[in-house]
């Protein structure tokens, strides 16, 4: 897959949005559910022997003669999992859906690394998965991720459900972003979405579609051959066929959005008709996948 290296320019003012407290185990800049050392006061509890005397709230003791210990929200990092579909269907379109998805994944990884979040990128393809994970305080780890994405090429059938199940075994993450065209059978689609919903506190589906799906040339009939399954489908052509396809596409997308909503997955179209940088800086921002990197923002 190909990634335009200039795509990262202009993304400095953004970072991944984290509307929920993170569950990360490492110190970071994100507010977490954990109580401990931090800046923001979370609660009080009675003193028990062994507590750090520096945490005793002496004002409360003077006023109420009770020894209470202050509890703070701990700042932890955000764990991000990016899964890129590298099945054969992603090789279609101009630009290719796979290249578009790779650029989006690289952008998300760039934003995570800039905010000192942990990121793991997994490419699901015919030959299994290829992954790259990095955690850094700056973008020095980004080349590893970009290289992993560029090594992959769309081919065959991607076992997305299996990949997501394997990632689930590694532990739940704060955010999981799946980049795919999701051109799979309905039951498999449900399985994928369910596993995506389970793997992260905030699952996101970036639906990658290209011209071939959005406005295919159906002026002539013929035999369509599925790039992944090899299925041959005799089909009609002409204006009637184009209308029928448009209706089917709208129905399919509506069904997909409804399924995502039901499972708590944030659905975001990521069509190849919009450049990846514009998608990240505008569309994903409006959908609160990313946000402005203002100082202190959580």
């Amino acid at each position: 897959m190909r990634i335009d290296r200039s795509i990262f320019a202009g993304l400095d003012a953004l970072r991944l949005a984290a509307p929920l407290p993170t569950s990360g185990g490492r110190p970071g800049d994100r507010r977490s559910r954990a109580r401990g050392r931090g800046v923001e006061l979370a609660d009080f509890r009675p003193y028990t022997p062994g507590d750090d005397l520096r945490l005793v709230d002496w004002n409360v003791f003077a006023r109420l003669e009770q020894v209470l210990v202050r509890l703070f929200h701990e700042d932890r990092d955000l764990s991000l999992l990016v899964v890129v579909d590298a099945s054969a269907s992603m090789a279609f379109g101009s630009p290719r859906k796979a290249d578009h998805a790779a650029e989006l994944a690289a952008c998300l990884a760039f934003l995570a690394l800039r905010a000192r979040d942990r990121v793991r990128v997994v490419v699901a393809g015919r030959r299994g998965t290829a992954s790259a994970s990095a955690k850094g305080e700056h973008t020095g780890a980004l080349p590893l991720i970009v290289a992993a994405l560029e090594r992959a090429e769309p081919d065959g059938v991607a076992e997305l459900a299996t990949t997501l199940a394997a990632e689930a075994e590694r532990g739940r993450v704060d955010q999981a972003v799946l980049l795919t065209d999701l051109l799979v059978e309905p039951d498999e689609r449900v399985t994928i979405l369910r596993r995506l919903a389970r793997i992260a506190a905030r699952p996101v589906l970036l639906h990658v579609l290209g011209d071939d799906e959005l406005s295919p040339d159906l002026s002539d009939g013929g035999v369509a051959i599925d790039a992944e399954t090899g299925e041959e489908l005799p089909m009609k052509g002409g204006r009637g066929a184009a209308r029928a396809y448009a209706d089917e596409l709208a129905r399919w997308r509506a069904e997909l959005e409804a399924g995502c909503r039901e499972l708590g997955i944030l659905y975001a179209p990521a069509f190849t008709t919009v450049p990846a940088r514009l998608l990240v800086g505008d569309d994903l921002r409006r959908r609160q996948v990313v946000q402005a990197a203002r100082g202190g923002g959580r």
């Binding site: 992603m90 002026s219 009939g221 369509a224 790039a227 489908l233 005799p234 089909m235 009609k236 396809y245």
Partner: protein, 553 residues
């Protein structure tokens, strides 16, 4: 059934890939897609390849293409069903001098052309008509269109045996004649049998084909010969040109002779494929036949000349004939009489002023005033006196006797210089048109006197030093030429071929200048077939594009 261009049948092989392409297009409009999941709604239970409408559409498209291809093949093959249509072949046979060349030995080009005509006649059907038109210096229909081909061949052989002469002046007329005999351009063809030397093919309405005979051979020939009389004493400027079609430069000698008397031998070096011109001055009597002959090409080790006809040329020098001159003088010794006596054309009669003859003369020259009526004459020149009754007068003596002007361009003064003419005495001439002027007035004038041309000078021959000058015999000779009776126009030279006729390399462009294969031409059935084929192929393209546009819209 016969085929005009059987090779064109090979184009039918194109039908196979066309049909194959359509079958492939019909049954294998396969396109890989990312996924068929969204396309299942378009599943066609009866594939397009089997649908009657689709089949009809594709069949119509295929039929249009195949019909176009078939028509194109028919237009190229030109089949004739039920026997060949009657053809008319009009053979234009070049008989110009270059056709007499022998290419590397053997027969002449005209013989070759006759043989070609024989082969052409043999290829014709019995109902086909053949005509023979000759071209060269003149053009004419030797044999009108006939089915008796042998007669045409025999006539051509007879023409070949007679030899080739002249240039190609008749080409245009010959081709016009051929066009006039071309009744049906689709079934008539003009075949030009020529070596191309000097030949031009103007456009015509009938298709033409050229059969070039001859090979590139070396030849030198006299391509121009003319003579111009310089003075009245037989001095001629002779212009001669030699043209070569040899591939190397040649040195030849041009021998000029008049009535077997050699006048000059001019060596010339003729460049390869070029022409050399020379002008020499010779003295020869008028009326003689001047002949220029090339010598040398076969003696200097080079190949023999291919065309002997242009190795010599002759031209008759103009001869205006004798001029009857009457000199009226009372002097026993007269310079004028002597000058007239030595002139080769002057038939001089000297008469005393009182004893004039009565016979007619061409020129009367008066040195003394006649005392009787002048005999009939067209021209009269009076020196220092005016005959009685003449319209001119001799007035007072000229005080200024220097000549300030004379008619430089007049025939009387050719090679006559009157500058510094010394005059002991002179009188001004009155009336007429002055031809010699002094500061005092005209010293000579010309006027029409009844049916005579009269020139009067204000001075006598003895009053001037003119008689001692070289201009004097020229002046006398000019008066003789002026008064000479009108002769026949100069005869054209003989044996002189146009330079193009001596260039014996056959022109490769001759065949290209002709148009159309045998039996082609005209807005015939096959042209219609070809146009229909093009229209059908275009219609098929429009049909396909329109359908696609409608679908995409």
């Amino acid at each position: 059934m016969s085929l005009g261009q059987p090779w064109a049948l090979a184009l039918l092989a194109l039908a196979a890939p066309v049909v194959a392409a359509y079958l492939f297009r019909l049954h294998n409009l396969r396109r890989p897609v990312a996924s068929t999941i969204l396309l299942r709604v378009l599943r066609d239970p009866q594939p397009a390849a089997q649908r009657a409408r689709a089949k009809l559409r594709h069949k119509l498209s295929l039929a249009l293409l195949l019909a176009g291809l078939a028509l194109a093949v028919i237009a190229l093959v030109r089949p004739t069903i039920g026997g060949r249509a009657r053809q008319r072949v009009l053979v234009v046979l070049d008989t110009s001098a270059s056709m007499g060349a022998r290419d590397h030995g053997g027969g002449t080009r005209l013989d070759r052309a006759a043989a070609e005509l024989d082969a052409l006649a043999a290829a014709l059907g019995p109902a086909d008509q053949l005509a023979l038109i000759t071209t060269g210096a003149s053009a004419g229909v030797a044999v009108p269109p006939t089915t008796r081909h042998a007669d045409v061949v025999l006539r051509a052989r007879a023409i070949a045996a007679a030899g080739a002469v002249g240039d190609n002046r008749g080409d245009e007329l010959a081709l016009r004649l051929a066009d006039a005999l071309c009744r049906q351009p689709g079934q008539t063809q003009i075949v030009v049998l020529s070596d191309g030397a000097g030949l031009s093919l103007p456009p015509g309405r009938c298709p033409r084909r050229a059969i070039t005979v001859g090979q590139a051979v070396d030849n030198l020939g006299v391509s121009a010969l003319s003579a111009r009389l310089v003075d009245g004493l037989g001095t001629h400027d002779v212009h001669v040109a030699v043209t070569s079609s040899a591939t190397t430069a040649r040195t030849v000698a041009v021998t000029l002779a008049a009535d077997d008397r050699v006048l000059d031998v001019i060596p010339v070096e003729v460049p390869a494929g070029g022409t050399v011109e020379r002008t020499v001055r010779v003295t020869v009597d008028g009326g003689a036949r001047l002949r220029a002959t090339l010598t040398g090409p076969s003696r200097d080790g080079a190949a023999p000349d291919a065309l002997p006809a242009d190795d010599g040329a002759s031209v008759a020098l103009p001869d205006a004939g004798p001029v009857a001159v009457l000199l009226v003088t009372a002097r026993p010794a007269s310079l004028l009489a002597e000058a007239l006596r030595v002139h080769p054309r002057a038939r001089l009669t000297v008469a005393a002023p009182g004893a004039l003859p009565t016979t007619a003369f061409d020129l009367i020259m008066l040195e003394d005033e006649p005392r009787a009526a002048l005999p009939p004459a067209g021209h009269v020149v009076a020196f220092g006196m005016v005959p009685a009754g003449a319209p001119l007068t001799l007035d007072a003596a000229a005080s200024e006797r220097g000549v300030v002007r004379w008619d430089f361009d007049a025939a009387w003064f050719r090679y006559v210089d009157l500058r510094d003419l010394f005059l002991t005495t002179a009188r001004v001439v009155g009336g007429g048109r002055a031809i010699i002027d002094s500061a005092s007035g005209p010293l000579a004038a010309i006027a029409r006197w009844e049916d005579r041309e009269l020139i009067v000078t204000g001075f006598g021959v003895g009053d001037t030093d003119l008689g001692l000058r070289a201009a004097f015999p020229n002046l006398v000779a000019n008066f003789i030429d002026w008064s000479a009776p009108g002769g026949a126009p100069p005869a054209p030279p003989e044996g002189v071929l146009a330079a193009a006729e001596s260039q014996l390399a056959p022109r490769p462009s001759l065949a290209a200048a002709a148009t159309g294969p045998l039996g082609s031409g005209g807005f015939g059935l096959f042209t219609v077939a070809a146009l229909a084929a093009i229209a059908l192929l275009l219609a098929e393209q429009v049909f396909t594009l329109t359908r696609r546009h409608r679908r995409s819209a």
